[in-house]
């Protein structure tokens, strides 16, 4: 079967959503994965966006933003950001969500804020220097990281994106690992998986270090280790993740009408 790595990642992400869950989707890949799940196996997934758009499905292609008319055209309710991100997400009510990341580390912390020259990261130099490249900041991902019962990290699997320690924590994962989140009283449970373009990493239940638990048919453990910036542990029961079924691909492509994931 023909499919791209992006499509495999979107489908693997979508598989993590169960029917009936309350879920918030961001834009782009994350939204495609979510609406794929709704179409494929979770018809009662209750999806909403950061701005408080409820009960809608995209029309006319991938929305350009979470308030784009493409996602507003058939909504049943519009509220606001405090409702969506405050009452439902940061409060601990949301069951599942997806965060995209420019950089993650072995404890699932996410950086979407900036790229610093190696050695000049704020935590290393004890000073908030300007990033070499300014990225987009956290958006609503911080609320998801703090409040969602569980959430998924979607990341392109490249060494520069999988660091021992991120330059800047835009959205907290397990911080320094173990029970470190407890200190901050976060209502949410932390990231449940990293779904990458090569496989799936899940946190060790105790240390919270992310370990390899599955890889796609086209990838290998070796390739994944090579593309990970920390000494990646491999789960004893690591598995090959089933490739997309014909039905999954059909449903994904029905959502991805403009074919944004089919570009290799």
């Amino acid at each position: 079967m023909e499919y791209t790595r992006q499509e495999m990642m979107a489908i693997a992400t979508g598989r993590e959503f169960k029917d009936g869950e309350l879920a918030i989707f961001g834009v782009g890949l994350s939204m495609l994965a979510g609406f794929f799940a709704q179409r494929n196996h979770a018809p009662n997934l209750m999806a909403f966006t950061e701005g408080g758009v409820y009960g809608s499905t995209p029309i006319g292609g991938l929305p350009w933003g979470i308030e784009d008319n493409r996602i507003s055209a058939n909504a049943v309710s519009f509220t606001g950001a405090i409702d969506a991100l405050g009452f439902l997400v940061a409060s601990g009510r949301v069951d599942n969500a997806v965060i995209g990341a420019a950089e993650v580390d072995k404890f699932g912390n996410v950086n979407t804020t900036g790229i610093w020259a190696p050695g000049t990261e704020p935590w290393r130099v004890g000073k908030y220097t300007l990033p070499r490249v300014r990225l987009n900041g956290s958006g609503g991902a911080n609320e998801i990281a703090v409040g969602a019962k569980k959430y998924l990290l979607m990341v392109t699997h490249e060494k520069k994106r999988f660091s021992e320690k991120v330059a800047y924590i835009s959205s907290p994962g397990y911080l320094d690992g173990g029970n470190a989140r407890e200190k901050y009283g976060f209502p949410g449970g932390g990231p449940s998986a990293m779904i990458t373009t090569l496989g799936i990493l899940r946190p060790d239940p105790v240390t919270k270090e992310f370990i390899l638990t599955g890889y796609y048919p086209f990838a290998s453990i070796e390739e994944i280790k090579e593309n990970t910036g920390w000494d990646l542990k491999v789960a004893p029961d690591v598995q090959v993740i089933p490739e997309p079924t014909a039905q999954e691909l059909e449903n994904l492509r029905a959502v991805d009408v403009t074919g944004s994931l089919r570009k290799k």
């Binding site: 950061e50 408080g52 350009w64 933003g65 784009d68 606001g80």
Partner: protein, 327 residues
């Protein structure tokens, strides 16, 4: 409620905005519902040293940053969503011209709500245990920072959370779908932080895609989330969100979103962009500049049916001109 607050865009910028002000804008969304044409008018007027409280960056803040008018910005999200990084803002931040103080999309509107409530601080779990708390662009030498979002202990449980400062801007410009001349407004689409923003700002200017008769407010009072009592001025701003979208009226102009952002990447490009899209006298001129072809294209929106219940109350351009002249 019998005094008209309708003024022109130029009058609003002349009267209510000034160099160095603490400004806020709303929707404050990259792709929809921000008062982009108000930013264009501020750029025309050469406003500078602006300090902005922003839920999200938009083409408005992107433009103001690109011309060097943005001194500082507190923000939850600084990109343009699927349209990419905001090149004007990115350039201003990377060069050190604009101080960017990071929060998140949930904490910014709650800080606005805290400003509206006139609370001294607001306690949250958001933005703690991470670099929004530890890194402060206002106070970069102090890392991890303990003053930007200090810890506070819950007196009931002993739990620790973060204490945030409230936001109380000097001036806010807020995009609304419809407003009457008294300042009652209806928004279609997500409010994002516009409701809270209309309550926390010292001065509030509405930028309305449509000016409507007050009859629509009396028919749909539950839709009037911004009542006249909190509004200082109403501006007729047709296609004021362009090239982003206004739910019910027009879609985002994909081509122009990319083009504008590409031009803002450099100073030269920015000047070229302003030559092409910053030279108009009034809103009628502005609409001509966008051009009929583009307007027809973006107006063919799947959300158009959302406007159906309100069309009978919409004022024509001729009526609006008369309302402005009659003052």
């Amino acid at each position: 409620m019998n005094k008209s607050k309708l003024i022109t865009m130029k009058e609003a910028v002349d009267k209510y905005t000034y160099d160095g002000m603490y400004f806020a804008h709303g929707g404050a969304l990259p792709v929809g519902s921000d008062c982009i044409s108000f930013f264009r008018e501020m750029v025309k007027a050469g406003r500078k040293d602006i300090d902005i409280a922003s839920n999200c960056n938009t083409q408005g803040t992107n433009l103001l940053a690109a011309v060097g008018g943005l001194k500082r910005m507190e923000v939850g999200f600084s990109g343009l969503e699927v349209y990419g990084f905001a090149n004007g803002l990115k350039r201003a931040v990377e060069s050190g011209q604009t101080i960017l103080e990071d929060y998140s999309n949930g904490s910014m509107p709650i800080r606005m709500m805290a400003g509206a409530l006139n609370w001294p601080f607001v306690p949250m779990f958001m933005n703690t245990g991470c670099d929004q708390q530890w890194a402060s662009a206002d106070d970069p030498e102090n890392y991890p920072n303990t003053k930007k979002i200090p810890e506070i202990t819950d007196p009931f449980t002993g739990k620790v959370c973060g204490a945030f400062t409230p936001i109380k801007p000097d001036v806010a410009a807020i995009h609304v779908t419809m407003a009457d001349i008294y300042g009652n407004a209806i928004m279609l689409g997500t409010e994002w932080c516009r409701y809270e923003l209309s309550r926390c700002s010292k001065k509030v200017i509405l930028c309305a895609d449509k000016i409507v008769d007050t009859g629509v407010m009396k028919q749909f009072p539950n839709l009037v989330r911004i009542p006249y009592v909190v509004v200082d001025a109403v501006v007729y701003a047709p296609y004021g969100v362009w090239p982003a979208c206004s739910t019910g009226l027009y879609d985002s102009d994909e081509e122009h979103m990319f083009y504008m952002n590409k031009m803002l990447k450099t100073e030269e490009g920015t000047q070229e962009y302003l030559q092409a899209f910053g030279q108009y006298d009034d809103v009628w001129d502005y609409v001509d500049m966008i051009g009929k072809e583009r307007i027809d294209k973006i107006s063919a929106t799947e959300t158009a049916f959302l406007m159906d219940p309100y069309r009978q109350w919409i004022k024509t351009d001729a009526e609006i001109k008369e309302l402005l002249e009659r003052r």
